[in-house]
Amino acid sequence: MTLQATTSQTVGPFFSIGLTRLYQDNLAGPGVTGERVTIEGRVLDGDGEPVPDALIEIWQANSHGKYAHPEDEQDKPLEPAFKGYGRIPTDGDGRFRFTTIKPGPVPGPGAKPQAPHLAVTVMMRGLLRRLVTRIYFPDEPSNADDFVLNLVEPARRETLIARKAGGQTGALEWNVILQGPGETVFFDC
């Protein structure tokens, strides 16, 4: 039997009614190992205006580079306190902020490690399908050899790499630019 996947529809402006229950802006609770990072940014539309009704979802491995999922069969430790999932709405200023840990490397094609990254879903009114992107980390030597970053023309790669923000340890900035110069790289996932 072959079926066809159900058509996507927009999350609309009122998703908070149904989706607030799983809001999670701190993935790194007590007992989770790894380098804490706080990632903050804004979602901006084609006029450079903030998007106050966007939803960001995060999926990532733990600090050992292992996903809390049965298909990850790597011989690396799982951490019961770390689920790897975040869901964060933007505020009236289009801003989002979440705390997590920098994940370890996970394998890519040919078992070659990928650079540490977060998988990101972006949804909002006006988006009929989700957008998929990634967040990579600054000062990470393995970015240069990362299989996915190398799919992207060099001038646009920086849209996928968070920047150090301010003086605080672990404070990073990463923005979602929907259109125009500096448009974030989105993937056909």
């Binding site: 298909e71 992207v152 993937f187």
Partner: protein, 234 residues
Amino acid sequence: MPNIAGYRRPLAGSQPNYLHPAYASSVKRAPTKPLIYLPHTLTEVTGPMFGKESVDVKACDLTQQHFGEAMGERIIVSGRVLDENGRPVPHTLVEIWQANAAGRYLHKDDQHNAPLDPNFTGCGHALTDAEGRYRFVTVRPGEYPWRNHYNAWRAAHIHFSLFGPAFATRLVTQMYFPGDPLLPYDPIFNCTADEKARERLISIFDWETTIPEQALGYRFDLVLRGREATPMEG
């Protein structure tokens, strides 16, 4: 580690384009540069898992979340979650949200001049069972006006959010009702080119799940992406 079988890509026209000018909000929010094709890796074929501990079993009845009963026509919305290979997707989280019977959302930004119902929040969730089945009790949502174009009204709909087994299978969609006269005028419903794909968003009146003297049944099956048979070259 062996190479990984990815999830199937959608057939042309079976999913909406990002830019759909008839839906005004897409114009400034749709990306303008082509998406970059991402072969699936361990990141995309894994995804968040939600077990029984993350679910309130009472949350599948949206009519009984308050002291009194929700206003409106009670309905049963049920169906199965399958993948493109026809296999059930068991124990996966389904989240829904909707307007009340008068066409008003319990949300500060919904300024439609229709009454709120103190006994209806409009959100529910459930896990599918071992055969991929889910079932909600709710009220039929009202149609409501919006400002997309002159005299614009959204067809009655219920929002659905599903995870499936992987990051790649995440789906957010909307369920519509058979015979709704607003469907031909709704640019969100009509954003998908393929007519058959659109029609699959319309639930089916279901005599089998209709409860005598209590509630009409509507059946809505959802299909998540299926797995490719062979691993990609790596």
